[in-house]
């Protein structure tokens, strides 16, 4: 229980909200990414994360700069363009006690980093993977990224003719156990999704549409504030009830769905127009496809599978983080070397192989 002398109420872990803040943002005023940063700070505070148990990771882009603006008491690593997933995987291997928050952009994830993104999801490495999706490369001044919608225009009026890559659909396809879509302007939805993602053990993908006010907020852009407000179709209203709280709101029977996460916390989904089942992959993919043809942006928890085994379980690792193992545990004793040397003396330790490329 530490924390600075900052004012304000303390959370379960004994920290104030200021303990979750970071450096001052250098992004454009009004940039959607700033709102997501605010959402992360609030969600981390409410979830009672211990900052030192968090590691922040990112690639390159305006979005990837943001880990410097939240959780200043956590280590952070701003890696290279599109390759945050591999760095995150390495960090997790070294110390799986850390909660990894990865921030990426649509260019960083869907363009240059698509391969690494897919493989992170496929391995189910525990990372809260936030894509700050504005459909353009903000930092290189407004070129289209691979998530730009067909017909959406650049600031100079040029339209995009290529099919967008839907990171949520890909994640679901690859077996991701937590896939959500949200909007930087909808904190009420974003915050509980973030908290649920923090509690999920495995890759949690949050694709958050986050308008770029400088290069993609014009008429003709499908990811402008105006366009998103118009097309946003929430699947449900979301509450997150952490393991340390009781479900204290009375919901009318039959109006909610609940998902329990392994740590005992609950996601409560209040039905809206229809009863959306987030545990069906087929349903999730169909919903995304329908939304695409109808040019709607569906937001909410698209798919969840809380029990899916994470990467470290597959690897059968010891409990102690690998980074902290003492020499005695990782250097086998002398007799092992002698045994191996004897094998190479007699030839039993080595059997021939050939070929390759």
């Amino acid at each position: 229980m530490s924390g600075t002398a900052a004012e304000g109420p303390r959370n379960l872990a004994g920290f104030t909200k200021a303990d979750y803040e970071g450096g001052k943002t250098t992004l454009c005023p009004g940039c959607g990414h700033n709102a997501i940063t605010g959402g992360i700070i609030q969600a981390a505070f409410e979830a009672g994360l211990e900052p030192h148990r968090v590691a922040k990771l990112s690639g390159i882009g305006c979005s990837s700069k943001t880990p410097a603006y939240f959780l200043g008491h956590a280590h952070g690593c701003n890696a290279v363009h599109g390759r945050m997933p591999s760095v995150a995987t390495g960090v997790h291997l070294a110390n799986r006690e850390l909660l990894l928050i990865g921030v990426s952009g649509d260019g960083d994830t869907a363009s240059i980093g698509l391969g690494q993104f897919c493989h992170l999801v496929r391995r189910n490495v525990p990372v809260v993977y936030i894509i700050e999706n504005n459909g353009v490369y903000g930092l290189t001044k407004g070129q289209f990224s691979a998530t730009a919608d067909v017909g959406s225009t650049m600031k100079n009026g040029r339209p995009n003719a290529l099919m967008p890559i839907d990171c949520c659909a890909i994640a679901i396809e690859l077996g991701c156990g937590f896939v959500a879509r949200s909007f930087s302007g909808d904190q009420k939805q974003l915050r509980p999704l973030l908290k649920a993602a923090f509690a999920h053990r495995g890759t949690a993908v949050l694709d958050v549409v986050s308008p770029c006010v400088t290069f993609a907020d014009h008429e003709g852009s499908t990811k402008s504030y105006a366009a998103v407000k118009q097309s946003d179709t929430p699947l449900h209203e979301i509450d997150f009830v952490p393991y340390f709280e009781d479900i204290h709101v009375d919901y009318a029977p039959g109006t909610t769905r609940e998902v329990e996460l392994p740590d005992g916390s609950h996601i409560v989904l209040k039905k809206l127009a229809e009863d959306y089942d987030p545990t069906s992959r087929a349903r999730a993919l169909m919903t995304l496809e329908e939304a695409r043809t109808e040019r709607r942006l569906v937001t909410g928890l698209l798919y969840v599978e809380p029990e899916k085994p994470a990467f470290d379980r597959d690897l059968g690792l010891v409990d102690t983080p690998l980074a902290r193992l003492p020499l005695e545990q990782v250097r086998p004793p002398r007799r092992v070397l002698e045994e191996i040397m004897e094998g190479f003396r007699t030839g039993r330790g080595q059997v021939a192989a050939e070929g390759g490329g």
């Binding site: 391969g115 190479f344 050939e354 390759g356």
Partner: protein
């Protein structure tokens, strides 16, 4: 000893995928067990089955283990290359020929033993597929009889290779016997080549460099291994996986290491750096094409100061063509891998024992210097079998470098990630997970100040760059120093690195008998150490020997010491085959003559009978 005794080389020409590797290993091992120094080199194609492959075994009572270009005994098993194989045997040479193979008339001054391989293998098994594999044991039997390799030694070697598969063992044994008995009953020995017992290999091991490196990594305490398959690097990781599974799991089966086969080499180094950043001992291994992909991350690791170990088992590049042939062409690229002002420490093992030793030291260096450290091996060293003394158990503990513990951090008023507190260019680091909030920092590429804050200030950037240069100076004292063998009477100094060492030893000997005495410096790392300057000053003419076309190491040496540059010559081999000592000798002699060096006064060889 007669000239043909324990001093000749065998070449076996087969097709790959035909199981000849087991036969060749048995031959090699049997000779080794007889106490006679031996080395084996596999010259294989980039293919799984059906292309020509050659295996050379050099038997040398002097202990020479470099590739000998001359073939004394040729075993012809591949119809497709038979004509050329036969033509490659000089007068006095021996040809052991599968009698089913048609070859043009062979001159009388070669000894030909035609062996009815098919007739011999047929009664042993009816399975046609098995015949193709086991027929290779026939030549083992024939050679054993011809060369006088003790039967018991062949059996022991065979048992070591196949003892775990009793059926295969019996079948192969039968084939060896068939070849043996046939040769005994039908062949008149008409050549001088023989193996006689010595005691020069007693207690020694035969091991490939990749396996040695894998052992070093395990005993060095590696915890995170990431890789993407590529010849000739894969066998390093595969050996490592084997050792780790066996010796680094707890009784309950849980692993105190993680191995991840990444989606490509970019991810492999990204994972290694992520793990290094978070405090694990991490490594990856690859070859040239993978190194190319790692370039951006290598620079990132350099600027962000993150430890990781990267092995490059060099091969000829790029892509298709000669990926299974050896080379030292990655040196300059690896040393400065990435954009911007990068310079990486590079370790240059020359022997299997150094592969083992440097595998451990590379971790210590990477963590001490907080930077990616590269280890440059090559296909010849990595994939071929070399004699060595058994490796010593590491007596020293590991060096985890300047990592602040929770308690140390608590005692500090402030912590700044990139401040040069000690003046050696190496800052202190903390690991993610430390409780003390002042320990947290944000890692970036080039734009940071001493406190790891973002800045694009020109002064700060230059300051950081100067400190990194200082760190590189510190590295000079930490990397393995060269091995130097001075000769007071020599005017010529030879420099090399890596697996060429063995060819150079022999070449020096040849040069000495031709009247050219030489001093010798074996480089074992970059950056260079002070030894290089002394060596350059000492000799009139220097030759840097290496396996690439443009003389990359020679260029680095000249850059390091411009005043000596004019005296630094370059001898290069770039055929994709391990260096032949004679090539070096001839090149030095040619250059020396061109330089008008003094009259040649032949001297006795340096190390007749020395086994190293």
């Amino acid at each position: 000893m007669n000239p043909g005794v324990n001093d000749f080389s065998i070449q076996v020409a087969t097709v790959n995928g035909s199981g000849s590797q087991t036969s060749n290993t048995v031959l090699l091992r049997a000779i080794f067990q007889m106490g006679v120094p031996v080395s084996g080199k596999n010259l294989f194609p980039s293919n799984i089955a059906g292309l020509p492959t050659w295996f050379t075994i050099r038997v040398s009572r002097h202990g020479w283990v470099a590739r000998a270009a001359r073939t004394d005994v040729m075993v012809v098993m591949n119809p497709e290359t038979a004509e050329a194989d036969v033509a490659g045997v000089g007068p006095g040479g021996v040809i052991v020929l599968n009698d089913q193979i048609q070859v043009p008339p062979i001159p009388d001054d070669r000894v030909v033993y035609a062996v009815p391989m098919r007739a011999l293998i047929e009664p042993i098994t009816h399975d046609v597929r098995l015949r193709r594999l086991v027929v290779n044991m026939i030549y083992v039997g024939v050679l054993a009889e011809l060369l006088g390799i003790a039967e018991g030694e062949i059996e022991r070697a065979l048992d070591a290779q196949l003892g775990h598969k009793p059926k295969a063992l019996a079948l192969n044994h039968q084939a060896v016997r068939a070849g043996w008995e046939w040769a005994r009953d039908h062949l008149d020995k008409r050549d001088p080549f023989r193996v006689e017992r010595m005691s020069l290999t007693e207690g020694k091991i035969l091991i490939d460099g990749n396996n040695a490196a894998a052992l070093g990594a395990m005993f060095g305490g590696v915890t995170v291994v990431t890789w993407y398959p590529i010849t000739p690097s894969s066998s390093l990781i595969e050996a490592l996986i084997g050792h780790l599974e066996r010796y680094r799991r707890r009784p309950d089966g849980r692993a105190n290491y993680a191995v991840v086969q990444a989606e490509d080499e970019i991810a492999a180094i990204g994972m290694a750096l992520g793990a290094g950043w978070a405090g694990a001992r991490s490594m990856t291994s690859t070859s040239g094409p993978g190194i190319s992909l790692m370039a951006e991350f290598a620079g990132y690791g350099y600027y962000a100061e993150i430890p990781a170990v990267v092995w490059d088992i060099q091969r000829v590049g790029p892509s298709t063509g000669l990926p299974t042939r050896t080379s030292q062409g990655d040196l300059a690229f690896v040393h400065q891998l990435s954009h911007g002002d990068t310079r990486h420490p590079v370790l240059l093992p020359s022997s299997v024992e150094e592969c083992y030793d440097f595998a451990m030291r590379a971790f210590d260096l990477a963590e001490r210097l907080q930077t990616p450290v590269f280890v440059l091996s090559d296909l010849d060293l990595g994939m071929n079998n070399w004699m060595s003394d058994p490796f010593p158990y590491p007596e020293r503990p590991w060096d985890r470098g300047k990592v602040l513990t929770e308690a140390e951090l608590a005692k500090l008023a402030t912590f700044e990630r990139y401040r040069d507190v000690d003046g050696d260019g190496i800052p202190y680091r903390t690991l993610p997970g430390v409780r003390d909030p002042k320990g947290a920092y944000f890692t970036r590429g080039s734009g940071h100040d001493e406190a790891a804050r973002y800045t694009e200030s020109p002064e700060v950037y230059a300051r950081v760059m100067d400190r990194l240069a200082r760190k590189f100076e510190t590295a000079r004292a930490l990397v393995p120093a060269p091995l130097v063998e001075d000769d007071d009477q020599a005017e010529v100094g030879l420099i090399t690195f890596g697996s060429n060492h063995w060819a150079l030893l022999e070449s020096r000997d040849q040069l000495q008998t031709e009247g050219v005495r030489t001093g010798y410096l074996l480089l074992r790392a970059l950056p260079f150490t002070e030894h290089l300057g002394r060596f350059l000053a000492r000799y009139r003419r220097i030759y840097v020997v290496e396996q690439n076309r443009d003389g990359q190491m020679a260029a680095l040496v000249r850059l390091e010491s411009p005043a000596d540059a004019a005296r630094v010559g370059s001898i290069r081999c770039y055929t994709g085959l391990p260096v032949d000592p004679r090539h070096i000798t001839d090149e030095v002699l040619r250059e020396e003559r061109a330089a008008g060096a003094g009259a040649a006064r032949p001297a006795p060889p340096i190390r007749e009978g020395v086994v190293r």
